[in-house]
Amino acid sequence: MSTTFDKVAEIIAETCDIPRENIKPESHAINDLEIDSLDFLDIAFAIDKAFGIKLPLEQWTQEVNDGKATTDQYFVLKNLSDRIDELIAAKGA
């Protein structure tokens, strides 16, 4: 399992007081872990700080609202971890 996922899972467990063992790569942050949009801001803040990136939440929300993407693409944790890896790679490029 990716180091990125482990770090994200730790952040979610600590921020939302969710048992770490309940947080799995296939978990959907909203549908499965029931994280609301306000708590997700705290998670985004912690992720931004931990990885030195800026999660493009506004862009993702727009894409979902426009029907160009599904929430699974950004909020299933293995996908979120992939997006984070992409942002890290783009930063270093």
Partner: protein
């Protein structure tokens, strides 16, 4: 400071873009309908309005840093502390710092003082929501000028 209109800030005295820091001052009015209820015969500045002072001070900086493209709506107050009582006539100072500018949100920290003594502090989360109409931005700019906010530094 006009409590009934939630106009908490009298003017800004320092805005440091590089440090992401802002300072405001205000004087609690001697008379206000707020004090008729809070409390009869014992006028006391409501603690939630001190939170509002911190939220507005830091919120203006969030607005400016985002280029006045959206309204910073207060979403969360963490570790809010009201350290002492504040009364009519008190002269207050507030400081706000933006500690993180995220996508569609911002995190800040704020403190308040009276004559150098800490009166309140909190960590604040803002969602940046679209303005309700194009005129709203102009309204904010005019308001900012009345508060001595250095708009030119933030013009994009």
């Amino acid at each position: 400071m006009r409590l009934e209109y939630f106009q908490m800030i009298d003017r800004f005295v320092d805005v440091d873009v590089g440090e992401r820091l802002i300072r405001s001052v205000c004087t609690v009015p001697e008379l206000s309908t707020v004090f008729e209820g809070h409390f009869p015969g014992y006028p006391l500045m409501p603690g939630v309005l001190l939170i509002e002072c911190m939220a507005q001070t830091t919120g203006w900086l969030v607005s400016a840093l985002s280029g006045f493209t959206g309204l910073p709506a207060l979403a969360e107050v963490k570790e809010g502390k009201i350290r002492t009582a504040v009364f009519p006539g008190d002269e207050l100072e507030f400081e706000g710092k933006v500690v993180h500018e995220g996508s569609g949100y911002a995190m800040g920290e704020s403190k308040g003082w009276r004559k150098g003594t800490a009166i309140c502090d909190a960590k604040l989360t803002y969602r940046i929501v679209p303005y309700p109409n194009p005129q709203f931005r102009q309204t904010l700019w005019e308001w900012a000028e009345r508060l001595d906010f250095p708009l030119k530094e933030f013009s994009k």
